[in-house]
């Protein structure tokens, strides 16, 4: 996301703010290959008095963004959630954090404090059962509570209750130095460490008027692609597991492990913590390692391709996925869906295409599937394609990085100009494994004054309940769950 540090927020009154947001809503409603304007961030600044709503609207065609702010001076404000479902959860969050009430919100209840709210079934009648699942679940699944209304095997309604892992990370950061907050950014969601850190660091560097060297951008993108590789391998393995394909599960999980070990050997951390730093230089001398990395990637890729093609040719596997957990295009537009889940519906959206067009020079191509039914099979196919694209991107990024002189780039903060502006706003938008991640920061003399995080999962979670309920049966739930592959921690923060 390009945002000049001098650009100020547009301070609007609540009515004008609402009008601007509704024009974005119309852009989503218009359909087409992808919305012309996107809501990158919606949240509240609760450290100022009175608290203020903050929205960042992205313009994918130009890669620019507009920043809107409106003070919540009254105890209530007019809710937009009834006309724009994407705001249902963000408005509840504002309510929880400030106590200001969104008037006309269709489903207002405590969101950030799940222990203060008891879900009850929505459906009633003969043969209707409410079935709870979680928050403690089998295996290594994160904490989330799901209440199913079922009739026989049919799922009628699903209410997810999340935020069991709400740590208040955004508030924790206020007043801390930019470098310390990097550690927090790495811990928003374990499986999206590189994505969140890259978005945070980009935002901080923009706020500080720092021009990021090319080599550093390439290196960050490489780490993000590596992260995508192991996340996609994990999701594909989970889909194989959910449909009982034991060999596929084990072998693709092995591919994931190979990617994690590669990340661990490169950066010292399997989950890429400590790899991306603000105002940093390229961390690794890529000339020395590039051939080893290429060899190991080729081995992982060969195994992946072999077992994916075996899965694709197994009728029982394909049968479990096809038509399961369909996301229809209306929901995708209403909730501003992002990432592979959106691309499986045929929406041509990808933050790399929209806000980092240079990635097309290093092998990025947008992956959409021709079927575009938005079912589990499409989500599987999109991930399979993206795996290959990421491998290709890592190859070309490696050749670029290996041809630059590491010594020139490794001078560290002393050699680079460093932060040039002491106060300012910045935004960072990247494409994580699950979709678009946006961070918004306000930096004041090297310390964080405000931090807003929108993970990909936060846009997708509300759709998950809808996609699970419509026409699916209980035994489909594991397949749907695996095909969405959402992060709980990234939403909860």
């Amino acid at each position: 996301m390009r945002l000049s540090p001098s650009q100020t927020l547009q301070r609007l009154d609540l009515d004008a703010f609402a009008r601007r947001l509704l024009s974005v809503r119309r852009a989503y409603k218009r359909g087409g290959p992808a919305p012309e304007r996107q809501l990158l961030y919606y949240g509240v600044m609760d450290s100022v008095n009175p608290p203020a709503l903050l929205a960042v609207v992205g313009h994918p065609s130009s890669g620019r963004s507009s920043w809107l702010q409106a003070e919540l001076s009254e105890q209530t404000w007019r809710s937009l959630a009834d006309t724009w479902p994407a705001l249902l959860w963000p408005e509840m969050e504002v309510h929880d954090r400030t106590g200001r009430v969104p008037e006309g919100h269709p489903d207002l209840h405590p969101l950030l404090k799940p222990h203060m709210h008891t879900l009850s079934g929505r459906a009633s009648g003969a043969g209707v059962f409410s079935l709870p699942l979680g928050p403690v679940r089998a295996d290594v699944t994160e904490s989330g509570y799901f209440l199913f209304d079922t009739i026989g095997e049919q799922i009628m309604h699903l209410q997810p209750q999340l935020f069991y892992k709400h740590r208040g990370i955004e508030r924790m950061a206020v007043g801390r130095t930019v470098e310390d907050v990097t550690l927090l950014a790495e811990r928003i969601s374990g499986t999206t460490t590189a994505g969140h850190t890259a978005a945070y660091v980009t935002a901080v560097e923009q706020a500080s008027g720092y021009a990021t060297p090319d080599a550093v951008r390439w290196e960050r993108q490489l780490f993000m692609e590596l992260e995508r590789l192991y996340n996609h391998a994990h999701d594909i393995s989970q889909m194989a597991s959910a449909s009982g394909m034991t060999v596929g599960q084990a072998q693709v999980a092995r591919v994931k492990e190979e990617c994690l070990r590669l990340a661990g050997d490169l950066t010292g951390c399997r989950y890429l913590r400590g790899a991306i730093k603000p105002f940093g230089s390229a961390a690794i001398d890529w000339r020395a390692v590039s051939s080893i990395v290429l060899d190991r990637l080729a081995a992982a890729d060969a195994r992946m391709q072999r077992f994916v093609s075996l899965l694709q040719r197994t009728p029982t596997f394909v049968d479990r996925l096809v038509g399961t957990g369909i996301v229809n295009r209306d929901w995708a537009d209403d909730y501003g869906l992002v990432g592979p889940t959106a691309r499986a519906c045929g929406i041509r959206t990808d933050a790399r295409l929209e806000y980092a067009p240079w990635t097309s020079d290093v092998g990025f191509t947008l992956c959409v599937v021709p079927r575009a039914n938005g079912d589990a099979l499409d989500r599987f196919e999109v991930r399979v394609q993206e795996w290959s694209v990421s491998i290709q991107m890592i190859r070309s990024l490696l050749s670029r990085l290996a041809s630059t002189n590491h010594a020139e780039n490794s001078d560290g903060p002393h050699g680079s100009p460093g932060p040039t502006v002491s106060k300012g706003w910045g935004g960072g938008t990247v494409e994580g494994p699950r979709g678009r991640i946006s961070h918004v920061v306000q930096v004041d003399h090297g310390r964080i004054a405000f931090w807003g995080i929108r993970s990909a999962s936060s846009w997708i979670w509300p759709v998950f309940g809808l996609a699970t309920a419509n026409g699916n049966i209980q035994t489909d739930f594991p397949v749907i769950d695996a095909s969405f592959g959402l992060s709980y921690a990234g939403l909860d923060r």
Binding site: Q251, T316, Q474, T475
Partner: protein
């Protein structure tokens, strides 16, 4: 054969099913993991798990009644009773052989399954209920195929006593009826013991499980009995497939202990072949959608029906 000898031999049969069944499950688990490219647990892991469970305390849901407590014992006892009706180690009938035919064996196993699903429902956990309804659905789909298999057996053997049936099957000598019966019973065995494509025994996903859901509330020795009963059920159905329907080859003809031990070893070898088949199926196809189980069992029933028609026609 004296009565004492007969009792002793029957004891050997029971001992084989009781003590070797966890080993057979252990080998199956290890082979399955081996095919996935892993080392897999020790083949004796099932014994260790049972020992662990027997040493644990039992936690019983508050409102669970007598049915809940009795169910694991019934489920455990059922395969042992069936063991006495079928040729596990010997090719000649033992003293309980004429107490019940294959139909009775099916009913007794069915009683164990029924007890478990009533017990699971009595535990009042929603998952127990789900598991029970799904298990009921699977049994309902299995039933026609099973009955048709029995028809085909009785038409071709003019008997349903396992010891007589296996003698006749031997002379069928891989005829179409024989092969079709083997295929149909193999499909029933996979469904009844909760293997892929009907249920995924290695799944940990609460929402899609069938067999494991029924044991969700059970703990400690109760759970051990259910697990052990499951192992024995697999062996009993395996014995019917291998020794009754396929061929009595390898069963002991003599009355000496040595002959019986040799019989046990050969039956074990036959089981290894069966396990290889199960592993092959489990590793190459996925778990079916719940409603497709009906189609799968309908296919098995169609195979069995063809066997019936061929048997009646005397091919």
């Amino acid at each position: 054969m004296t009565l004492g000898q007969a009792v002793w031999m029957q004891g050997m049969q029971l001992g084989f099913v009781l003590l070797v069944s966890p080993l057979i499950k252990g080998i199956l688990n290890r082979w399955k993991e081996f095919v996935q490219g892993k080392r897999g647990p020790s083949i004796f892991q099932v014994y260790r798990d049972l020992r662990k469970l027997f040493h644990k305390e039992t936690v019983i849901p508050e409102d669970a009644g007598l049915l809940y407590r009795v169910a694991p014992y019934v489920y455990f006892a059922a395969p042992l009773i069936v063991t006495m009706l079928i040729p596990v180690l010997t090719s000649y009938p033992l003293f309980m052989a004429f107490a019940g035919d294959m139909m009775a064996g099916g009913f007794i196993l069915g009683l164990g399954t029924y007890a478990l699903l009533v017990g699971a429902t009595a535990g009042a956990s929603p998952y127990g209920g789900i598991g029970s309804t799904r298990a009921r659905f699977v049994s309902m789909c299995v039933e026609p195929a099973l009955i048709l298999i029995l028809f085909a057996v009785s038409f071709s053997a003019h008997a349903t006593i396992p010891y007589i049936v296996n003698g006749v099957m031997q002379h069928l000598g891989w005829s179409p009826v024989h092969l079709l019966l083997m295929a149909a019973f193999f499909a029933v065995l996979l469904a009844e013991t909760g293997r892929i494509p009907v249920d995924n025994p290695s799944s940990h996903r609460e929402f899609s499980m069938i067999d494991h859901n029924r044991a969700y509330d059970y703990s400690g020795p109760h759970l051990a009995l259910i697990e052990w009963g499951g192992c024995m059920k697999f062996v009993v159905l395996g014995v019917i497939l291998l020794n009754v329907i396929t061929s009595p080859w390898g069963l002991a003809n003599g009355h000496s202990a040595l002959a019986l031990l040799a019989g046990a070893a050969l039956v074990f070898v036959k089981f290894l072949a069966l396990l290889a088949m199960v592993v092959w199926v489990e590793s190459s196809i996925g778990k079916l959608r719940l409603l497709r189980i009906a189609e799968y069992m309908a296919a098995a029933a169609a195979v069995a029906l063809t066997a019936v028609i061929l048997a009646v026609a005397g091919v």
